[in-house]
Amino acid sequence: MIGTLAPEVDSRRERMPDLAHSPTEVAGIVPLPSVPDRDHALRPQIDDPILEIDRLSLWYGEKKALKEISLQIPPKKITAFIGPSGCGKSTLLRCVNRLNDLVDSVRTEGDIRFEGESIYDPNLDINRLRKRIGMVFQKSNPFPKSIYENVAYGARIQGIKKKADLDEIVERSLLRAALWEEVKDRLDESALGMSGGQQQRLCIARAIAVEPEVILLDEPCSALDPIATARIEELMQDLKDQYTQVIVTHNMQQASRVSDYTAFLYLGELIEYGDTGRLFINPMKKQTEDYITGRFG
């Protein structure tokens, strides 16, 4: 698939960073004096980002897991975070919907803005934030309930009680997740009886059901076989028209196949971020090149 992207690379390159221009200035926010120019060079110019990660650092107790990460995520595109295990890509993803808050020892500095508003704003309703930023996990985690109840869960949380409304939401979400045909006759069966790939698509349907704006996917295919993986990737392309997707993957082929933008993280640092085609064909940093060519990782 890299091949098919190749002809575009040049044209994209032309859009490539206007290097002197800080992305945060675009959003009308004070420039970041501490970020060296070198790093700016490694960031694409993104107009009107839906998510802005701004010098985010994170500590697990004493250990600094994320080091001043700044990047912007464009709306209705797929952005991939890649990097070797332990590089902090999942941690970074889990910062976006503040799931890291659940871990006692976590401390963060810096900011993440979602549609211009800080997610760390003390007035922000964290449950509302999580409704707008859905998540699909590495291991499929359907609730021990029926297929129907799994998809209807978010709607029920929001107080929708009418059976007709719930039916409609369930059907629409399962259709959108390309699962409807497979499960429409067994909606009342336990979700735990489905195959791994189906469970993962159910989790996507469940996330879609609450109509989020962003879907975070944390290595969604790591436990799936290639066919199930292909179906998820296909589904991600289908969902692009409506949702911003951020995917964490340690599978570089997957990142290059599905994503529009790719960020490479290493040891808690953002090494390089850019247009997927460009990053894979023409990495600007040695570490990126070493990683994507399989010299380490």
């Binding site: 006692d104 449950n127 996990f137 609730f143 021990p144 309930k145 336990s190």
Partner: protein, 535 residues
């Protein structure tokens, strides 16, 4: 090689355990079950010419030293306690001249004084001799007895029904009057109301008198018909016909008839009230008391334990304090149960029950209502005793719900409470039910603490009846565990009741098993519903 031996050792240990359990059950079933089987009546003619009629319960070698050591002897249930004073007799085999099983030997099961063995000499109806001689009397007995049983049931119905109601009403009016005395009202109004109450009371008492007269007339009618019984040694006894429960000629009964009798006896053992200070009759009040107490306990212990476990596992910050609480909870499970009994008496009965009495039932004081042992206090005491089991099991159930499932719920915008309520608790429900099953099993077998918080040898009424408010939490109750102790070791007629110990123990095990099986069925249903959950 060593591994093989170890496997064999493990298997052997398991086999031994199973053998013990099966052995206990078999012992209980054999000794308890045998009790209900009607043996033949054996007539012994002694060498001195006297006769004895009874059921042979066992044969053994005489254990004592002396000239008669090692002689075979029989233990005979001879009944006729009102004539002989004893139910059992030991007979040396060498004193016996002949043994026979006369087909016409009669067994009467009676409401008082236990069984009678012998024959009917006469039947008197209204003071006149209606039948004379063993055969004629036996033929006349059947239909007459049936009639008397119906009358007897009528008397019981009147006593428990209408008279019971009027008594309750009179008691209520009396309390009303006392309440009025205590109330702060103007004297004139007090007098007015007291007069109204007095009038009401007088009416009720007149009603009661009428019923009481009717009752004594019925009783007199019942007792006017009598049977004259004759033992094999010629002694006679006249008893009211109505006090006979059953009359049978066991030696003439077929195997099928005996089997029918066997089933019928087991049924009445399970469903009847006890008689003769628990040595005869059934044990229904004990079964009822045990089951109801265990249910009340479950209703108290499950919410208490689950909420505590939720706080410990889900809300409390894990640290040394929580660890200490956990250790304390586990240790609580090791406190001797009588300590809980003492605590229940001091806290529930005297403190809470006493306060309830002062606030809500001042008119019945000094007679306590809740300020004395009762089924509610017993259930709560046992709930305290078993709460550690539920906390530990519920904590394990909660811990087994994977973090990723909770995160899945939170990531959909659910609050922590919604996640707990809608995802975690249902998934942990089987584990929680396991805790409940363990708690129920423990509670059903517990006797010591109950002896001081409301369990009694003989309760006058069930905790549930037809009088408002229908469920009487303050009432004392009977319990199978205590019944075993009472029947086996406190009974005035221990020889007769020993088999009842086995039968009651078996029944207690069956009751506990049934309760556990229902809880397990519920758990399996939940497991199926939430298929795949870990616990």
């Amino acid at each position: 090689m060593l591994g093989d031996s170890f496997t064999a050792l493990c298997g052997g240990a398991l086999a031994l355990n199973l053998l013990l359990v099966v052995g206990i059950l078999a012992l209980l079933a054999w000794n308890g079950g045998r009790y209900f089987w009607q043996r033949d009546l054996t007539e012994l003619t002694m060498k001195d010419g006297s006769k004895i009629l009874g059921e042979v319960w066992e044969t053994e070698k005489r254990p004592t030293e002396g000239p008669r050591a090692g002689v075979d002897r029989l233990r005979l249930k001879t009944g006729n306690r009102d004539l002989a004073g004893l139910d059992f007799a030991w007979i040396d085999r060498r004193d016996i001249a002949s043994i026979s099983t006369p087909p016409k030997a009669l067994l009467l099961e009676r409401l008082e004084y236990g069984n009678f063995y012998g024959s009917i000499r006469e039947i008197h109806v209204g003071g006149q001799v209606a039948a004379r001689g063993a055969e004629a009397s036996w033929r006349a007995f059947g239909p007459l007895h049936e009639k008397k049983r119906v009358e007897q049931r009528g008397v019981e119905k009147l006593e428990k029904g209408e008279i019971g109601e009027i008594n309750a009403a009179i008691e209520a009016l009396r309390l009303e009057k006392k309440k009025l005395d205590l109330a702060a009202l103007p004297a004139a109004e007090k007098a007015l109301r007291a007069a109204a109450l007095d009038q009401d009371l007088a009416e009720r008492e007149a009603d009661y008198q009428k019923l009481a007269d009717r009752l004594s007339a019925m009783r007199a009618a019942l007792e006017s018909d009598t049977v004259v019984l004759e033992a094999v040694d010629g002694a006679t006894k006249e008893i009211p016909l109505s006090s006979v429960v059953h009359a049978i000629r066991p030696n003439a009964m077929s195997g099928l008839a005996k089997s029918g009798l066997y089933v019928q006896r087991i049924w009445s053992f399970i469903t009847d009230d006890p008689r003769e200070s628990n040595t005869e009759g059934g044990i229904f009040p004990s079964i009822f008391g045990t089951v109801m107490m265990v249910f009340l306990m479950s209703f108290a212990v499950v919410p208490l334990g689950v909420l505590a476990a939720l706080y410990l596992r889900e809300y409390a910050k894990q640290g040394p304090l929580v660890r200490m609480v956990r250790i304390a909870v586990n240790n609580l499970a090791g406190v001797p149960s009588i300590v809980f009994g003492v605590f229940g008496l001091g806290f529930f009965v005297y403190l809470i029950g006493g306060s309830i009495d002062r606030i809500f039932y001042p008119e019945s004081l000094p007679a306590p209502t809740f300020g004395t042992g009762g089924i509610l206090w017993a259930a709560l005491t046992l709930a305290l005793l078993t709460v550690p089991v539920v906390i530990v099991a519920a904590e394990e159930g909660l811990a087994a719900v994977p973090r990723i499932v909770r995160e899945g719920s939170l990531a959909l915008g659910a609050t922590k409470f919604e996640t707990l309520w809608r995802v975690v608790l249902p998934a942990a429900a089987p584990g929680i039910l396991t805790g409940m099953i363990l708690a129920m099993a423990r509670a059903a077998g517990e006797v010591a603490p109950l002896m001081i918080v409301g369990m009694v040898k003989l309760a006058p009424a069930l905790p549930v009846d037809g009088h408002a408010p229908f469920v009487h939490f303050e009432r004392k109750f009977m319990h199978l565990g205590f019944h075993i102790y009472d029947v086996g070791f406190q009974s005035p007629n221990i020889e007769a009741t020993t088999p009842l110990v086995f039968a009651t123990a078996l029944l207690l095990i069956i009751v506990v098993t049934i309760m556990n099986l229902s809880a397990i069925a519920l758990r399996n249903h939940l497991r199926k519903k939430y298929a795949g959950s870990a616990v």
